[in-house]
Structures are given as structure tokens and as C-alpha cells.
Amino acid sequence: MTEETSQSKVVAQKSVGEYFAAHLREYGLLLALIAIMAFFQITTGGVMLKSLNITNLFLQNSYIIIMALGMLVVIVAGHIDLSVGSVMGFVGALAAILMVNHDWPMWAVIPVCLMVGTAIGAAQGYWVAYWSIPPFIVTLAGMLVFRGLSLWLLEGQSVGPFPKEFQLLSTGFIPDFMPQGVSTTLADLFGARRFNTGALSIGVIASGFIVYFGMKKRARNKAYGIEDEPRAFFIGRNIIVIGGVLFICFKLSTFRGLPNVLVTMAVLTIIYAFLTQSTVIGRRMYAVGGNEKAAKLSGIKTKRMTFLAFANMGMLAALAGLIFAARLNTATPKAGFAVELDVIAAVFIGGASMSGGVGKVIGAVVGAFIMGVMNNGMSIMGIGIDYQQVIKGLVLLAAVIFDVYNKNKQG
């Protein structure tokens, strides 16, 4: 009993500074995103955080973020997938051929495309998992094969435009479900041309949930004596996150409201965060990446886990392909070219480890946003594509060096 009390004291006495040092990576990532946004807000003369630009940011990066979710799982399982850009382009091309050339209805095309993507991922996963062929080789082959197949499918041409309802997948907005009167009043109040009260209320509800679940988890941790972040951090982090959510929702509501892709993205992020952190299958994925042999001897079907990680990646790449095609309103043979590199970079910026077993969904999403904000900000500033590539490369390197340095310092 005495031992227990002395231990809880140790936890309590741990200073705020020490806690911050130990969790530098997680908070640092969030702070880095804010700092980068603030930097561009100044250098672009306030364009960065305009309603239109925020909307664009989500539209531009949605497909990267969706694939980063799958890539995180693949990397956590100790593998890599180089084919996602090509698969994304191939599925977009397939959708265009089916919808534009063969007049298939959208409700049939979407599930078919998702299944094709899953099958492609599963095929690659099969070789990796059951034949132990290095994923680098298998997916490098896949990258070439599907790049070629989309060229063949499109016969080198761009195919479009898509039916209106398919475009909405990417460019649509959640309609205002609140009474019209409220919105006009608020529009007058904020001096905006229009106001989407629905978007703002979704933001408020989401904030409520974030606080509610945060408090609930804290209470539970306390009850079980699990070490938790200091109160100051909890409050500070929540103020930043909720402030961000409300600010973005407010900005969006003065434009056209919440984009459909933002909702898709948010829902998928929540699902994957839950799957990786709180479910048996997620835990097993981490175990496979952390030590495959030990996982196997603990009764985990390691090959099946690898197979599932790739199949899931294929499905998300297909979804990204549909969203990307819908946004451009055309399928081109170049769609998704070199996108795999952005996706992989986002996951590593987000703190995942090359050797597997380490990484978080939230990290990958924030990592993707860091890349996206930099792309967007530098383009607005008129920085050439040449410098942009150099800067992005250096940021990726710096993030990973920071990780390694941090780890060495602790160990």
C-alpha cells in the first residue's frame, strides 16, 4: 500500500517540463503545424486563412490524408506501399471509363471501384504476406503495372467530364440544415455575404464531443491510476484543438459550408484512430510490426495481418482515386503520379518508424496537413516548384532526424 502511494506521488510530482520533454514529439507536431500556418498567414498577407483557401486546403489534401491512413497501417505493420499513387490513378481511370464511356450509374461504379482497389491491395499483400517477397519489390512492380494499365485504359487521353452527382463527392458541400432565418441573421451579424449555420453547429457539437470524451478518458485514467498528461496540458491542448475546430468551421460557414470530403476524411480518421488504438486487430498490427516472430509465437496470424494491411491500403487508394477524379472532373493518365511519396512522407513526418510498430493515425493526418499547408502556402507566395521540392525534402529529413535525436537522448 505504501509503495502504491509513493508511486502515485512520483507521478504527480513529475514536473510539467519533464512531461513536455517526454512527449515532445506529439505536442511538437501540433505546434509545428500551428507555427507553419501562422508563418504563411503572415507571409501571404492573410490569404492562408481566408474561407476560400481553407476550403481549398481540404479539397487539395483530402486524397493524401485518406491514403495516409492506410499507409500508416502498412508502415506500422513493418511494410511499405509504393504503388498507391498508381493504384489511385488506375481506379480514377476505371471510374471514368465505366461512367463516361459505358454510362454506368454512380451507385454501381463506386462499390466496383472500391472492390477493385481492395483486390489490387490484396493481390500485392498476398505476395508480401504468403510468399515473403519484400514489399518494396512487390509494390514497385505494382507501381509500374498500374501506371501502365491506366495509360492503356485511357488510351493516353483524358476522359471526362463526370456526371454532376459524382463530382459532388469531392466538390459538394453539406447543405445548411438549420432554419434559413437563423443563418440570415448570423450573416448580417458577422457581415458575411451568407452564413451556413449547420456547419458551425457541427463544429460546436464536435467540440463538445472532444471535450466530453477527453474528460471521460481522464476520469477513467485517474480512477485506475494511469499516468495522464498534466491538467495544464490537457486544458491547453483542448483550447488549441477546439479553437482550431471552431475557427475552421466558422470560416467555412461564411463560405459554402462543410465540404463533403472534409466529412468523409474526418469520419475515416476517427474510425482508423479507433481501430488502431482501441481494437484487438489494431493492437495485433502494432505487434506484427514491433516483433513479427514474437507476435507469431503469441498466437497472432501475422501473415493474415500483413495481407489485411495491404488490402485495406488498396481500398483507401481506390477511394482517394475516386475523390481525386471527381475533383478534377476528369481522369488523366498522370493522375496520382508521385503521390505515393507525399503519402509516405506524411506518415514519417507524423512520427511513424521505418522499422514498424510505431506511429499514430493522428500523427499521420497532422503530418499530411503540414505537407499540404506548405504546398499551399508556398504556391500562394509564388515560390517556384523547384524550391518547393527542396524545402519539402528538407522538412521530411528534419522531422526524422528530430525523431532519431529525441530517441537517442531518451535512451
Binding site: 512520483v10 477513467r220 484487438v280 486487430i281 493492437r283 502494432y286 516472430k293 503469441s298
Partner: protein
């Protein structure tokens, strides 16, 4: 006798921990000096300070070497002065030849072009010195661990060693290989080479050591001179653990019940070499409440037998029958074996037993996630409770169960592995070398856990290379020799000599 090395008042702190607190060590020229202590006592830290892994300035105290104050900045610095450390995990490149390994980073070359004839000739000379009869072109990977250990020593000799430090050199070795190594140490001593030997095996230490320094909790407890009088093992153990350990094996009332696991006519072939049979017609039984031992040399097939039973994790064309409580049982995959009530603690904890970069909690629940989840969703609070329960029950020494396993000492890591399997609630536990590389105190705790398991009516299979441990713990001992069980001895009829006689007969 002149003093070769003196370490005075060495204090080394890590954030929050004082790993070494005012440690003194004096090593005389030409002696074999043993350092003993429990795991985590600070032996390895002390050697890292000495060899410059922790450079001068990062610790307090002084090192006087060959009469001069030494301040080493890194390993190559200390190596230049003839201090060479051989770690428990060997640092050889498996795909390169003996010669290439011996001169790695130190190649016999003029302007970057290697002089192969000379290098081979020098290799042969060095190999003769360590008594290893191998060609200089043999690849390291094709040699046994015992021979590799000798290559490491030859490598040290190539570097003009004055002070040789060996960290648990015999932990992975067979009895006869260990003996060879100890003989070599004595021979090197005759040639004037001073050695520091870190070991848990007290019988080996009393065989070769001139003096023994005992370290406990980061401080020097005593330095014992074995030349003046014979130091008893009990004396050393008392100094190490700070208490008298009259019994090295906890007492147990055997209460043996009905047959629990029966293996009949078990045959296993090598996974790659199709015509090599590893296990031949093996039959054995574990009863309820019984601890059985499997003795034998490394490579005699003990681990292969255990792994082939545990979900066909090793080998091919596995045939034979397995009965659990008299009923045939399907053990064709690991999850089925676990579900049937089997557990297997691997010999190699780090490679096969643990996920090092994960927390204690997550390692403990890994084999039984169903126990802490509902509908595939893990209950983190329940998981925490389970981990805390095992931390208390197994006495895992850690500030928090959210600590990564990599930060624990060997004994505590082994307790995490055991916790994992106990949480899977097995009826039969197979423990493969459960006390390897673990200090005396933790060993005792693990023995107690085994006894408790047996008293609950479970069956325990203990595979061990340490015969005293098998004799001290087991109700029955099987002896394995080249893939066959050649003898079955009851506790009363078994002795080290008898077991050995079955091991050495063909």
C-alpha cells in the same frame, strides 16, 4: 603484484537514477578478476565507463591505468590502450570469413589493397593461440557459438590486448565449450594477459578467478581474494543479494495427478534440409502438478521439440500424436495450441518473446487479448488492471507498467514473458531456458513461480542446460540426445553424473 587498473570512486548518474555510486575496483597485473552482482547492479555500466562508451567527463571519479590517469573518449581510444571488451552479444559479421572478421577495421593492407596471404597467415597464428582448429576462410555463420566466442578472443589478441573484459562469455555456451573458454583464459593469464570476467556462473568463477569484486545496487560490496582461501559460493551469493540464501531452490510438496499432456511418436524434419530428421520417435508425458525437465546439449533438439509441439512453429512433416487429459488435441497452429492450454516461453526473450519497443502492459496481454476486450474492442482500464496484478504477483521492478520493455533488466523482462503466458491461463507451460542470463535473486523468484504453477495442478516442462537447476526443480528429467529422448530419470535417481553419461553416449 603491480596494479594495472584502478577505478576510484566512480559515480555515474542517469536522469533520475544513480547507476554507480562511488564504486572502487582494483585489478592487478596478470590476474583474472571476476565481477559479480545481480542484474542491474551496475556491472555493465562500470565496464562502459572503463571502455569509454561513457566518455570521460560524463562520470565522476578517476581511472588510473598503467599508473596514469586515463580519460577515454570512446571505445577506439580505450582499445588503443589495450583494453578490449567482448560483449555477450557477439559482434561478428556472419557472412564474412574468420580472417575478414579478425581484421575488420584493422585490415592487413598497403594503401587500401589487402594482402590476403599475410592476413591468412596471421589469422592461422591467432587461431592456434586460442586453440581453434578452423581454416581462415571459414565463414563465421557456419561455426557454432562456442567457436565464435573463441574468434572474438582471437580478435582481441590481434589488437594487442592488455586487459581483456568478457561480459558473460559462457552464457550461450555448452558445458564443454565453456570449459575450453575457461582453459583459454588461464592460458592467456600465463602469457601475462589480465582479464576481467563478468559472469553469473559461480562455479566457473571459483574455477578461474584470482579475485572477485562483488557489486550490489551500484556500489562495491566486497573484494574477495580466492588465492588466500577458498571462497564458498554461499559467501559470494550472500554478498550479491545482501542476504543469506541457504536454499537456492525453493522447497515444494509434489502432488502429482493424472496425465495432462502426452506426446506420442513425435517426429520432426528440418525445415530446409528435407532429409534431416531433428526429432525421432519422441514420447513423453507431463502430469498434473508436475515439473519435468528436459536435459541435453544445445542443438540436441530440445527447442525444436518444444516449438514443433507449440503450433508447429518449427520444422516440417511433423507427425505424432498429442493428447491433452487423454483426449486427442489439435496443436496445428499457435493460436490453437494456446486455446488448447499450452504456453511456450522462448529461449530467446528479445528476439522471440517480447516486443521490446512496446509497454509492459501491451506485452502482457498480447497472447490473450480476448481477455481484455469485448467485441474486438480493448478495454484499456481492464488491461491496466491485469498488468498491475502481474506486476505485483511477479514482482516486476519498474516505475510504471507503461514503461517500454526494452528498459527493463533481463530478469524483469523474463517476468514479463512469464506474465504474458500466465495471463493466457495455460494448463501446460513449456519454459525454454527460463533462467538464462538472469541473476540469482530473480532466478529464485522464477523457481517459486514454477512451484506455484505446479501446486495449482498445472504441468511445467523445463528445458535447461544447467543441470543443478533441473535437479533442484524437477520431479522427472528426460535426457535428450540428437533428437531422441534417451533416458527418463526420477528426481531420486538423477544426478549430474548420470545425466551427463546419457548425454555423452552416442
Amino acid at each position: 603484484m603491480t596494479t594495472l587498473l584502478e577505478m576510484r570512486g566512480i559515480t555515474k548518474t542517469f536522469p533520475g537514477v544513480k547507476a554507480l555510486d562511488n564504486v572502487d575496483l582494483r585489478v592487478e597485473q596478470g590476474e583474472i578478476h571476476a565481477i559479480v552482482g545481480e542484474n542491474g547492479a551496475g556491472k555493465s555500466t562500470l565496464m562502459k565507463v572503463l571502455s569509454g562508451v561513457y566518455p570521460a567527463g560524463t562520470y565522476d571519479g578517476e581511472i588510473i591505468y598503467e599508473g596514469q590517469t586515463a580519460a577515454f573518449n570512446d571505445i577506439s581510444d580505450s582499445e588503443k590502450h589495450g583494453i578490449i571488451i567482448i560483449h555477450q552479444e557477439l559482434a561478428l559479421v556472419p557472412l564474412l570469413s574468420v580472417a575478414e572478421n579478425l581484421f575488420l577495421g584493422n585490415e592487413v593492407a598497403t594503401r587500401g589493397v589487402i594482402n590476403w596471404p599475410k592476413m591468412y597467415q596471421m589469422t592461422d597464428e591467432l587461431l592456434t593461440k586460442v586453440g581453434l582448429n578452423e581454416a581462415a576462410s571459414t565463414t563465421i555463420g557456419s561455426m557454432g557459438v562456442g567457436k565464435q566466442q573463441l574468434v572474438e578472443i582471437a580478435k582481441a589478441l590481434a589488437k594487442d590486448v592488455k586487459l581483456l573484459i568478457l561480459d558473460e562469455p559462457t552464457a550461450a555456451l555448452q558445458e564443454n565449450d565453456s570449459q575450453k573458454l575457461l582453459d583459454l583464459l588461464l592460458e592467456l593469464k600465463a602469457q601475462g594477459i589480465t582479464s576481467i570476467l563478468i559472469s553469473h556462473k559461480l562455479n566457473e568463477i571459483s574455477q578461474v578467478a584470482d579475485r572477485i569484486t562483488v557489486i550490489r545496487d551500484g556500489a562495491t560490496v566486497s573484494t574477495l581474494d580466492c588465492r588466500a582461501e577458498k571462497i564458498s559460493e554461499a559467501h559470494i551469493i550472500r554478498d550479491m543479494v545482501g542476504r543469506d540464501m541457504s536454499h537456492r531452490y525453493p522447497a515444494r510438496e509434489s502432488n502429482i495427478g493424472k496425465p495432462l499432456l502426452e506426446i506420442k511418436n513425435w517426429n520432426v524434419w528440418h525445415p530446409e534440409h528435407k532429409d534431416r530428421q531433428l526429432i525421432r520417435d519422441v514420447n513423453f508425458t507431463v502430469n498434473e502438478g508436475e515439473i519435468i525437465g528436459i536435459a541435453g546439449l544445445m542443438g540436441s533438439g530440445r527447442t525444436e521439440l518444444a516449438m514443433s509441439i507449440f503450433g508447429k512453429s518449427y520444422g516440417r512433416n511433423i507427425t505424432g500424436e498429442a493428447l491433452l487429459k487423454g483426449q486427442p488435441v489439435d496443436l496445428s497452429s499457435v493460436d490453437k495450441a494456446i486455446a488448447a492450454g499450452l504456453a511456450y516461453c522462448t529461449e530467446d526473450r528479445k528476439e522471440l518473446g517480447l516486443i521490446l519497443e512496446e509497454t509492459i502492459v501491451r506485452n502482457i496481454t498480447l497472447a490473450n487479448l480476448a481477455g481484455v476486450s469485448k467485441g474486438g474492442v480493448i478495454n484499456a482500464a481492464e488491461e491496466q488492471k491485469v498488468a498491475e496484478k502481474y506486476r505485483k504477483a511477479m514482482n516486476i521492478r519498474t516505475p510504471s507498467v507503461h514503461q517500454n520493455v526494452v528498459n527493463l533488466s533481463g530478469g524483469n523482462q523474463q517476468k514479463v514473458v512469464l506474465s504474458k503466458w500466465l495471463y493466457a491461463n495455460p494448463q501446460v507451460l513449456i519454459l525454454d531456458e527460463p533462467t538464462r542470463g538472469i541473476d540469482v535473486g530473480a532466478k529464485f523468484e522464477i523457481y517459486e513461480i514454477m512451484n506455484e504453477l505446479a501446486s495449482e495442478g498445472r504441468g511445467v516442462v523445463m528445458i535447461s542446460s544447467e543441470m543443478p537447476e533441473l535437479l533442484g526443480m524437477c520431479d522427472r528429467i528426460y535426457v535428450m540426445n540428437e533428437g531422441e529422448l534417451v533416458a527418463e530419470l526420477s528426481a531420486s535417481e538423477a544426478s549430474q553424473e548420470r545425466i551427463m553419461s546419457f548425454i555423452v553416449t552416442e
